[in-house]
Point group: C2
Chain length 165, copies 2
DNA sequence: ATGGTAATTGAAAACGATTGTCAATTCTCG
DNA sequence: CGAGAATTGACAATCGTTTTCAATTACCAT
C-alpha cells in the first residue's frame, strides 16, 4: 500500500523549529478581548482553545488542539474545537496551513506574514519571509489584471539533518 | 451556514482559460506507450482516462474524469479513475493541484512547469510561469540548508471580469 | 491462437477529516 | 436574578478518497 499523501510520509507529524515553538507571552485578559472583538460570547472552551494555541507548538491540527484542551477540560467536544477554529480562520485570527491532503493545521496569525518550508522526510516546518517573492507575486497578478487577495506558498525539501541520514 | 472552503466559493467549478483548454494533439499509440512505460497493463479504462485528460479541460477532479469517461464507457468504476490518477501522480505524469480543502484537481504534467492564479469569485484558473520566483525559492531553501524537492504556489485574487462586477 | 497467471477491475464497504443536527446548557444584558 | 439568544457536546451525516475482494482481463510463454 502506497502513501496517499503527496507531500509528506504518512503518519509523520510535522515538527516545529525549536526557536519558534513558543510565541510571545500574553496578558490574561487578552483572549477575552479577542473573543469579544469577534462578536462572540466568552466561554471556558474558547478561552482554553486560545490558551492551547498560544502556549503549545505552532501548526497544530484540530485533533491536536482537541486532545490538548480535552486533557484539562475533559468535557469539551471536538465539534467545539472545529467550530471555533473555523470561525477564527474566517476572521483571520488563525491561519490555516494545508499540506497536500493532510488534515489542516492552524496557527495564531502572526503579526508578520511568513510562508513555510517543510521537510518531506521528517516533517520539520521552517517559517520564512521573502519580500522579493511577495513582490513578484503582486507583479504576476497585476500582469494578468488580477487583484491579489492572498496566496499559498509551500516549499518542500530535505532538511540538513535528514540529508545526513 | 458559511462556506467551508477557504479559497473558493462553495460549489463553484473553476473554469479554464480559453487559450489553454486544449493541449497539443497526440498520436494514437502515445497513451499505450505511456502506460507501458509506467510498468502497467494497457487497458481500455486507462486509455479512456488518458484520452479524457488530454482532450478535455485542464484541472479536472477525479469525479469529473469519472463522469466524462463513464459517458462513453458506462461500466467503468470511479475506483479505477482514482487508482489510475494516483498512480500517474506518483510517477509525475499528472500533477495534483489542491486549492484549500476542495477536491484535488489533476492535469497532465506539462513539459514546462507553471503555477496557478485563481479567481476567488468565479474560479477561473490562469497558468503562469515566473522564473525569478522559482530562483528565489531555490535560494530560500538553500539558505536553510534544505534540498528543495518541489513547491506549491497558488495565487488567489479577483479576475478582471469579476472586478467589473 | 491458447492457457496460465498475475494484474486489473467494479461494486461496495470502510475510511479520516470535517460539518450538521438538536436538545440541553451557559453567557449576556437588562 | 431571569429571559432569550448563543453555544455546547454527543452523535449522525457528509465528503472525498481508499480499501477490499471476487470476478475479469491483459500479457507472456508455449
Ligand atoms: Mn507558520
Ligand atoms: Mn495548470
Ligand atoms: Zn527532515
Ligand atoms: Zn473571476
Amino acid at each position: 500500500m502506497e502513501t496517499t499523501v503527496p507531500h509528506l510520509a504518512k503518519g509523520r507529524t510535522p515538527l516545529e523549529p525549536e526557536k519558534l515553538i513558543r510565541r510571545e507571552p500574553v496578558d490574561p485578559g487578552k483572549f477575552k478581548r479577542m473573543i469579544r472583538q469577534m462578536g462572540l460570547k466568552v466561554t471556558q472552551q474558547r478561552l482554553a482553545i486560545l490558551e492551547s494555541l498560544s502556549a503549545g507548538r505552532a501548526h497544530v491540527t484540530a485533533q491536536e488542539v482537541f486532545e490538548t484542551v480535552n486533557a484539562s477540560h475533559p468535557e469539551i467536544g471536538f465539534a467545539t474545537v472545529y467550530r471555533f477554529l473555523r470561525k477564527m480562520a474566517e476572521q483571520n485570527l488563525v491561519t490555516e496551513v494545508r499540506m497536500g491532503g493532510l488534515p489542516a493545521r492552524y496557527e495564531l496569525t502572526p503579526r508578520r506574514h511568513h510562508d513555510h518550508l517543510t521537510c518531506v522526510s521528517c516533517g520539520q516546518i521552517v517559517e520564512f519571509e521573502c519580500p522579493p517573492i511577495e513582490n513578484l507575486q503582486e507583479k504576476v497578478a497585476n500582469d494578468h489584471g488580477f487583484q491579489l487577495t492572498h496566496h499559498v506558498l509551500e516549499l518542500y525539501g530535505i532538511c540538513p539533518r535528514c540529508q545526513a541520514e
